[in-house]
């Protein structure tokens, strides 16, 4: 075989290895529930549904950053509100996302009218993160944070900590932080604003 061919095959081999490394970096998404399923589940008992979209003022963003260390950077946030026949608020839901090195983690968080957590559901992760997050879902991890408000204690409980290895705990903390952010956003944009209802 000529030297030219050897060089060519060597180059091709190197490119194939590099392609494999690049392709292996991010895995496809795993969608566990549609938005409608999550909203219907977390707003159960509601008869009428509303969308409330809110923007944060610079002062509100600064206050959230100071309170939690999180810097909200979306243009606006969307709450889905469920009301009864008389128009009284039953619950609210918001979708929160964190982008990790393994891809996005998206969680739907249900909140009671007083801003306390009603429940949470992981709606989207990636193939790679799924085995780490599954033990948390199996353990119904969100149960441990029900009833907490924006200033609650959002650290891993012993039960969640025991659910899996360090990666499971890492993703547990990511999800728990998303639940807290939802509570903070509701507190800031719904409860603390004069026109809230």
């Amino acid at each position: 075989m000529s030297r030219f061919m050897l060089r060519l095959i060597g180059g091709v081999g190197l490119m194939a290895v590099a392609a494999g490394i690049a392709a292996a970096h991010v895995t496809p998404p795993v969608v566990l529930a549609s938005d409608r399923e999550a909203v219907a589940g977390l707003l159960s008992g509601s008869r009428r549904y509303f969308v409330r979209e809110v923007r944060l003022s610079p002062a509100e963003r600064a206050a959230i950053q100071k309170q939690s260390g999180w810097t909200p950077n979306e243009d606006f946030y969307r709450f889905y509100l469920g009301r009864d026949d008389q128009g009284a608020l039953v619950a609210s839901t918001i979708f929160m996302t964190e982008y990790t090195i393994h891809g996005p983690v998206r969680v739907a968080v249900g909140l009671n009218p007083d801003g306390k957590v009603k429940g949470a559901q992981v709606v989207e992760i990636t193939e790679e993160t799924y085995p780490w997050v599954k033990p948390l879902i199996d353990q119904d991890f969100a149960r441990d944070y029900v009833g907490q408000g924006s200033t609650g204690r959002y650290t891993l409980t012993d039960r969640v900590r025991a659910a899996g290895d360090s990666m499971t705990q890492f993703y547990g903390q990511v999800i728990v932080s998303l639940i807290q952010r939802a509570a903070i956003l509701y507190d800031t944009t719904v409860l603390k604003r004069p026109t809230s209802g």
Binding site: I9, H25, E37, E53
Partner: protein, 182 residues
């Protein structure tokens, strides 16, 4: 090229090229299925995943809050993958490297085709152009104009067309074409 053509490769070279082309074809089918199930194959579905999220309430630019009654039916039932900017960055860098390397390997094989230079140049350019159009279309959809999501579909199709042409012609030359004089 350099007097070496696909039909003159040693058996090991022929098997290598053929298996590589078959393997990439299987990968392309899997990628197609992944795109179809996770995002969708129409420009509208691509736009829904990539375009900036617009307020459902038609909240104006300076408005701080707005509320509107909806029907649950207005919320998507299809599992929706949201490709926001951080994920777009991740997707872009992995796909630009991965797809360009695949296009490079396909092109490297096709360099030894006995086709004329003009046709060869055109065909081996297709996967590269498809890659640029595909990933570039994602960014343009997100930041310039949502209807440009059609470019993502066009780019993927161009990549697939290039792959098919390269594979069909290469396999033909490797296994069926009679020996050419140098």
């Amino acid at each position: 090229m350099n007097g070496i053509f696909l039909n003159r490769l040693p058996l090991s070279g022929k098997v290598f090229c053929t298996l590589y082309l078959v393997g990439i074809g299987c990968g392309a089918l899997a990628a197609f299925a992944q795109a179809a199930t996770a995002v969708g194959l129409s420009p509208g579905e691509v736009r829904a995943s990539l375009a900036p999220d617009m307020p459902m309430t038609h909240m104006g630019h300076g408005q701080m809050s707005r509320e509107k009654e909806i029907d649950l039916g207005q919320i998507s039932t299809s599992a929706k993958v949201w490709i926001r900017t951080p994920l777009l960055i991740q997707t872009s860098h992995t796909h630009l490297f991965g797809m360009t390397l695949i296009a490079g390997l396909l092109g490297a094989i096709f360099l030894f085709s006995s086709l004329g230079e003009g046709k060869k140049t055109l065909i081996l350019s297709l996967p590269f152009l498809g890659t640029i159009l595909d990933i570039g279309g994602m960014w343009l959809t997100r930041f310039l104009w949502p209807p440009l999501s059609a470019l993502v579909i066009a780019g993927g199709s161009l990549f697939a067309l290039g792959y098919v042409l390269i594979t069909v012609r290469s396999v033909y030359e490797i296994w069926l074409q009679k020996e050419l004089s140098a």
